[in-house]
Structures are given as structure tokens and as C-alpha cells.
């Protein structure tokens, strides 16, 4: 196995962190399903919320492998780069969902 795939951390931090992103991805999928469920009540604008949450879930899904490799390598090197852009994008998605949701509720 390559250096990227193994690490000596008994606390399995890379695994736990990648799983935490996976849980967040599943939460986003669930939330996007809930948005679709209330499409008949709120109308077409709710599709915007669906697109944002489903898109964020897809973005996490596509970066999981890279994320695990980076953190496993970081544990070996004793230095993990703080994933600033992933954190800011995820928070931004939450803020956009909230703003769109308030607009949908007030317009309806």
C-alpha cells in the first residue's frame, strides 16, 4: 500500500473525519428529499433549495477520497492542512439554504 493510504494513528482520526463528512453528506441528501416532499406546498422555488443541498452532497461525495488521503498523509507528516475552503463552502451552502428558505416562506 502507498504512504497515502496508511497511517499509524490508533485513534483513527482520518477515518472518523471522513465518516463525519459522510454523515453530513447523508444529512444533505435527507434534507434535499424533505425539500422535494414539500414541493406541492411551496411551489417551484423550492427546487432551488433542492439544487443547493443536493449539489453540496454531490461535492462532498466527489471529494471524500481526496479528503481521506490528505488527512492520512497529514497524520504521517504530523501536519494536516486545515481544510479552510471546504469549511467555508459548507457554511456558505447552509447560509444560502436559510436565505432561500426564508424567501420561499415569506413569498408563499
Amino acid at each position: 500500500m502507498s504512504a497515502a493510504a496508511t497511517h499509524g494513528d490508533p485513534g483513527l482520526q482520518p477515518e472518523r473525519t471522513t465518516l463525519a463528512w459522510g454523515r453530513t453528506m447523508l444529512a444533505l441528501v435527507t434534507v434535499s428529499a424533505i425539500f422535494l416532499r414539500w414541493l406541492p406546498h411551496h411551489g417551484l422555488p423550492i427546487l432551488l433549495l433542492f439544487a443547493v443541498s443536493a449539489g453540496a452532497a454531490l461535492a462532498i461525495y466527489l471529494t471524500q477520497r481526496r479528503r481521506y488521503r490528505a488527512s492520512a498523509r497529514g497524520i504521517v507528516r504530523e501536519k494536516v492542512d486545515a481544510d479552510t475552503s471546504a469549511v467555508l463552502w459548507t457554511a456558505f451552502a447552509g447560509i444560502v439554504l436559510g436565505a432561500l428558505g426564508i424567501a420561499v416562506v415569506l413569498a408563499g
Binding site: 499509524g8 434534507v31 414539500w38 467555508l88 447552509g94
Partner: protein, 133 residues
């Protein structure tokens, strides 16, 4: 360190521009702490997502329970709280990362009283509207 460990290859890559700007100075913290901070951030994000989904759902599925103004107030309250928690989680992540880089005490989480206070407020709205009927 276990003997089967492959030593890291090549020099450590430089930090990204965004990280340099938002998390300046200090020394690299223990990588385990950085990952733990990321997991805590994600736990807050999931809390925020639950509030956002709840806000959208409550306006729709309580239509024969509460009058429209109550539903709208509750929905907007939950959505606003979800939005603030998402932003607050990122702010807290940055503040914790900074204090770990500079070995200073971790900041108190402002999003904890925010969640507690707004949750209590939402419950109060429900109680008042149930008693009023």
C-alpha cells in the same frame, strides 16, 4: 511510531492562500486537533441542516394546526437559526483553529447560547399559540 510506517515523501506542500489569510501566524497544531475541530464544525452543520429542513416542513405540515402568522413566524425563526448556526459554525471553526495555532485558550462557543435561546423562543411561540386557541 509503528515500524511499518512509510516515511513521508518529499517536502511538505505550502499552505493554501486562503489558509494563510484566515489563519495567519502561529505554529501548526497537532493534526489530530485540526481534524477534531473539523468534525465539531460538521456536527454544527448537521444541527443547522435539521433546523433548515424543519423550518421548510413546519410551514407546510402544520397548516391545520396553527394559523398562518404563527406558522410563518416559526418557520422563519427556525430557518434564521439554521442560517446563523451555519455561519457561526464557520466563525467558531476559524477562532478555534487560530487559538490552537497560537496556543491560547479556546474561545467560548457563542453558538451554544444562540441555539439554546432561539430553541426556547420557538418553543415559547408554540406554547403561546396552543394556549391561545
Amino acid at each position: 511510531m509503528p515500524s511499518n510506517q512509510t516515511p513521508p515523501e518529499g517536502p511538505t506542500p505550502p499552505r493554501g492562500k486562503l489558509a494563510e489569510r484566515l489563519l495567519p501566524g502561529g505554529t501548526e497544531p497537532d493534526p489530530r486537533f485540526t481534524l477534531a475541530n473539523e468534525r465539531t464544525f460538521l456536527a454544527w452543520i448537521r444541527t443547522s441542516l435539521a433546523l433548515l429542513a424543519g423550518g421548510i416542513a413546519i410551514e407546510a405540515f402544520t397548516s391545520d394546526l396553527f394559523p398562518e402568522p404563527v406558522r410563518k413566524v416559526l418557520a422563519v425563526l427556525l430557518l434564521l437559526l439554521g442560517m446563523l448556526l451555519s455561519g457561526g459554525a464557520a466563525v467558531r471553526w476559524i477562532r478555534v483553529e487560530r487559538s490552537m495555532r497560537n496556543s491560547t485558550p479556546l474561545p467560548l462557543p457563542l453558538i451554544v447560547p444562540l441555539l439554546a435561546g432561539a430553541g426556547a423562543l420557538a418553543a415559547a411561540v408554540v406554547v403561546v399559540s396552543v394556549l391561545w386557541r
